[in-house]
């Protein structure tokens, strides 16, 4: 079985993102870029499945310009066997991404497609579910535990009510939540080795995925700020303040 893992290049999660003064977007110039953390967790899970002998190959893929090769190489250094870049210089929204991934799925025939549950830039949380819909296959989203047996997966999902367990037939789409695992650190020899692993580049136009109508972003703004508060010196003062506001 092959596992296809998607990787999105995003602003590193430690960077405090700022809106450009003219409201045309957010500042990404000179900002550290990384693998979307949820995708890193997805890749870690795929690698663990392979290391347990339940999959033969882990393929990482990313959609974007040549800069995404950096994140694909990191994925290869983590342990993926090969990488596929779908080359485009245009940003891709979830439905178009799902249509592109469907073309890769038809080509590679994976048993699992593993995605992060959301990307920490656009916070859409859509692509995995959309791919599952277009593929006509199960989706196990927000996964915090994955067990495979007999062509099926038992997936524990983090939901509002607690933990929901679903059983899905493979092939299936899975999306990772935070507590699925802790991704490994990449070691220097692995980075060297990753340079020799295959990285294939496919032109978006050659895949034949029909682009969807995009949402149009017309303005960006910083979030409203909460007014500064005050420090109180004692429990009694705190209770007094809360009573003043009619909260107690």
């Amino acid at each position: 079985m092959k596992i296809l893992v998607t990787i999105k290049r995003v602003v590193d999660y430690n960077v405090r993102v700022r809106v450009k003064p003219d409201g045309s977007g957010v500042e990404t110039e000179g900002v550290k870029m990384s693998i979307n953390p949820f995708d890193e967790i997805a890749l870690e899970e795929a690698l663990r499945i392979k290391e347990r002998g339940e999959a033969e190959e882990v393929i990482v893929t990313s959609i974007g310009g040549n800069e995404v090769q950096q994140q694909l190489r990191t994925g290869l250094a983590m342990g993926a066997d090969r990488a596929i870049q779908v080359e485009t210089d245009q940003p891709v929204q979830p439905l178009t991404a799902a249509r592109i991934l469907l073309k890769l799925v038809e080509k590679e025939q994976p048993g699992i497609v593993f995605l992060g549950k959301q990307a920490i830039d656009d916070d859409c949380n859509q692509t995995g579910q959309m791919l599952a819909a277009l593929w006509g296959r199960p989706q196990a989203t927000f996964a915090s535990k994955v067990e495979l047996a007999d062509g099926k997966a038992t997936v524990t999902r983090e939901v509002d009510a607690g933990l929901e367990v679903n059983e899905v037939d493979l092939p299936a789409v899975m999306t990772s939540d935070l507590r699925l695992n802790e991704p490994r650190f990449v070691k220097l020899p692995d980075i060297m080795k990753a340079k020799r692993k295959p990285l294939e580049t496919l032109a978006l136009a050659d895949l034949g995925a029909e682009p969807a109508a995009d949402l149009v972003a017309t303005a960006y703004e910083p979030p409203p700020k909460r007014g500064g508060g005050k420090l109180v010196a004692s429990v009694a003062e705190l209770i007094g303040e809360l009573k003043n506001k009619g909260l107690l």
């Binding site: 859509q126 006509g136 679903n166 809360l242």
Partner: protein, 312 residues
């Protein structure tokens, strides 16, 4: 054809408050024709509750054993089959909404607007990106329905007093047979629901252990509050995952929020930005939580919290 379809959420007994908040969010569209659709195996009780939500014209009940537990793979094709009759298809951005609606959107052939926090007009919305560090205004292209999730923390629940017509509808799709519900673990706490409580008391890593979390539970009980937690506290196993407040947990808007022993990582702050009043208790005076708290108290939580409980 301006007509809104809202997918109602419920547990078989009670309508989830997210549904009334979605109705409220949808009111900004200024479209009077609003249907709520419910999928379930026994819908009498929740249909009556949905019919009482002000602003709802019609409650469509799709009753089938397949819907005893909501599965996206089963319900999404139902929504796609109904889509032709509507200009807007909305649900709350609960974990169910996030799981279900993108699957339906893909079948309909549109991108979804996730986490709508403000409705500017029928096709223009504000939504948070980068963990709420930026707000983007997006326009949905003409020619297809608007499909979106409503960020429930941004809207109060629509009031009661509605008297919608309840109409039974038939399931239109088949069970794809590849996805099965097994069980749900957790929940069952006796306090108020975290997502909709008026007061929430959250504990963080500084609690140090599951046993120590008792001071939080005890204060919450005294105040009739729901208990929440930071990601660090959940990761450390002090409390179960469903109590996590923050970007990847629950995004909440209580009237009063206590952050106790929580330093205030940006991902946590994202989850509480819409709270009415935030109280922070932390021994580190430099903790970022104090930058957004309305009232801060610097000190040892294990002294302050019992003192607070006693004084109330």
């Amino acid at each position: 054809m301006a007509k809104v379809l809202i997918i109602g959420e419920h547990d078989g007994h009670n309508l989830n408050p997210a549904t009334a908040k979605t109705v409220q969010g949808a009111s900004g569209l200024h479209i009077d024709d609003v249907d709520v659709v419910l999928f379930g195996s026994d819908l009498d009780a929740v249909a009556a509750q949905a019919a009482a939500v002000a602003g709802v014209q019609r409650v469509l009940t799709v009753t089938h054993d397949d819907f005893a537990h909501p599965l996206a793979a089963r319900i999404a094709p139902e929504i796609a089959a109904m889509a032709g009759d509507y200009s807007h298809i909305l649900t709350g951005s609960t974990t169910l909404g996030k799981d279900l609606l993108p699957r339906a959107a893909a079948l309909i052939g549109v991108n979804q607007v996730s986490d709508i926090m403000e409705v500017l007009d029928a096709r223009t919305f504000k939504r948070p990106i980068y963990a709420g560090n930026a707000i983007v205004t997006v326009q949905v292209p003409e020619g297809a329905p608007v499909v979106g999730t409503i960020r429930t923390a941004s809207f109060a629940a629509a009031g009661e007093g509605g008297s919608a017509e309840i109409v039974a509808a038939e399931a239109r799709a088949e069970d794809p047979g590849h996805t099965r519900f097994v069980r749900v673990e957790g929940g069952g706490g006796d306090g108020p629901d975290l997502a909709s409580a008026d007061i929430v008391i959250s504990g963080g890593r500084a609690l140090g252990s599951s046993d120590n979390f008792a001071v939080i539970h005890s204060l919450a009980k005294k105040m009739g509050a729901a208990v929440g937690a930071s990601r660090a506290a959940v990761d450390a196993g002090y409390v179960p995952n469903e109590l996590q407040v923050g970007q990847t947990g629950k995004i909440i808007a209580p009237d009063l929020y206590f952050a106790i022993g929580i330093s205030g990582a940006i991902q946590h702050l994202t989850g509480i930005k819409d709270a009415g009043t935030i109280v922070a208790i932390n021994k580190d005076a430099e903790a970022p939580i104090f930058e957004i708290a309305d009232f801060g108290l610097v000190g040892d939580l294990f002294e302050i919290v019992p003192e607070l409980e006693k004084a109330l």
